[in-house]
C-alpha cells in the first residue's frame, strides 16, 4: 500500500511526512516569539485565519548543520535564507515546521520499522525509514514530536 509523502531536507538529511489533509509551504518568515515557550518553539504565525505554532524541527530532533571538524570556526549567525515553513496538521491540530528545503512529493510504501541505527536522531521520533532512489528517508512521528518532553 502506498501513501503520499512530502519529502524535505534538514541538515543534510531527508525526512518525510505523510500527507493527510491540507498542507501549505511558505518561505521562511519571522514568527511571533513567545517568552518561556519550549526551546524548540520558534513562535506563532497567523496564516489565513489560523494561528500556527512554528517548531524549529532541527533543534527538536537534535540535528544541526554539519560543521567542518578540526578547527574552531566563529559561531555563525543562524541563516534562514532559503528555508521554508511547512504548515501541516496532526490529529486536527495545526502546526508549522522549519525545513531547509522541500525536496518533493511522492508516493511511498509504508515505512519499514525503525532501524537500530538512526544516526543521532532519537528513534522515538521516527516512525520508520523508506528508500527512494536509494536514498534513506526518515518518516517522522509528529504525534510524538509535538508531545513535549
Amino acid at each position: 500500500m502506498t501513501s503520499s509523502y512530502l519529502i524535505f531536507l534538514l541538515s543534510g538529511r531527508l525526512f518525510g511526512v505523510r500527507l493527510i489533509g491540507a498542507i501549505e509551504i511558505l518561505p521562511w518568515r519571522r514568527s511571533r516569539p513567545v517568552p518561556l515557550s519550549y526551546s524548540y518553539v520558534e513562535g506563532l504565525i497567523d496564516y489565513r485565519g489560523t494561528i500556527y505554532p512554528v517548531f524549529n524541527l532541527a533543534q527538536r530532533l537534535g540535528v544541526s548543520k554539519l560543521e567542518p571538524i578540526g578547527f574552531i570556526a566563529e559561531p555563525k549567525e543562524r541563516t534562514t535564507a532559503g528555508q521554508s515553513i511547512i504548515l501541516l496538521e496532526e490529529n486536527g491540530v495545526p502546526f508549522g515546521i522549519i525545513v531547509d528545503s522541500v525536496a518533493k512529493m511522492t508516493k511511498l510504501e509504508e515505512p519499514a520499522s525503525v532501524p537500530a541505527k538512526t544516526t543521532g536522531i532519537d528513534p522515538h521520533y521516527v516512525k520508520g525509514t523508506v528508500y527512494d532512489d536509494d536514498q534513506e528517508i526518515m518518516i517522522l512521528d509528529f504525534e510524538r514530536l509535538l508531545h513535549a518532553g
Binding site: R32, P33, V34, P35, L36, S37, Y38, V41, L44, I45, D46, I51, Y52, P53, F55, V93, P94, F95, L146, H147, A148
Partner: protein, 136 residues
C-alpha cells in the same frame, strides 16, 4: 461595552502584549521603589499605592528578555491582590470585538499560566497576559 472587549496594548522588548483593561488601576512612572529582601529577584521591590505596599514585578526578567526594567509602571488587580508591572511602554487601548484565540497546544508548558490567549492586531499577533497567572 461588554467586559473583556477592551485591551491595554503594551510593549516589552519590542513585542506587543495585552491586558484586559478591566484589571488596570493606574499607569504611572515608577518611583520610590523600596527594596524588599523577602521578594524574589523577579521583583524590583515594593511601592506604596493608595496606602498599601504592592510588589513590583520586572516582567522582562520573568520572561527572560534582555534589557533594563521597563520605565512605565502599571498597577493592576490580579487574583492575588494588587500588582505592579514594569513595561517598556503603553501604546494604546484597543477596542476589540474579537475573542482571543487560545494559545496553541505544545507551545508552553501546561503548568505555566502566563498567557490567556492571542489577539490579532495590525498584522501582528499580540499575546494576552493572564494577570492571575503571572505569579504562578
Amino acid at each position: 461595552m461588554d467586559e473583556g472587549t477592551r485591551f491595554l496594548i503594551l510593549s516589552l522588548g519590542g513585542e506587543t502584549y495585552a491586558l484586559p483593561i478591566t484589571r488596570l488601576l493606574e499607569i504611572t512612572v515608577p518611583r520610590n521603589i523600596q527594596k524588599d529582601a523577602k521578594l524574589t529577584e523577579l521583583f524590583e521591590g515594593k511601592i506604596e499605592y493608595r496606602g498599601a505596599l504592592i510588589p513590583v514585578l520586572n516582567i522582562k526578567k520573568l520572561f527572560k528578555l534582555p534589557g533594563t526594567p521597563g520605565s512605565t509602571l502599571l498597577v493592576i488587580k490580579s487574583g492575588k491582590g494588587m500588582l505592579g508591572l514594569l513595561v517598556d511602554a503603553v501604546t494604546e487601548i484597543l477596542d476589540s470585538v474579537q475573542k482571543p484565540a487560545p494559545m496553541p497546544p505544545g507551545v508552553v508548558n501546561p503548568s505555566y499560566h502566563y498567557y490567556s490567549g492571542v489577539l490579532r492586531h495590525k498584522d501582528n499577533l499580540v499575546l494576552l497576559l493572564n494577570e492571575d497567572g503571572l505569579l504562578s
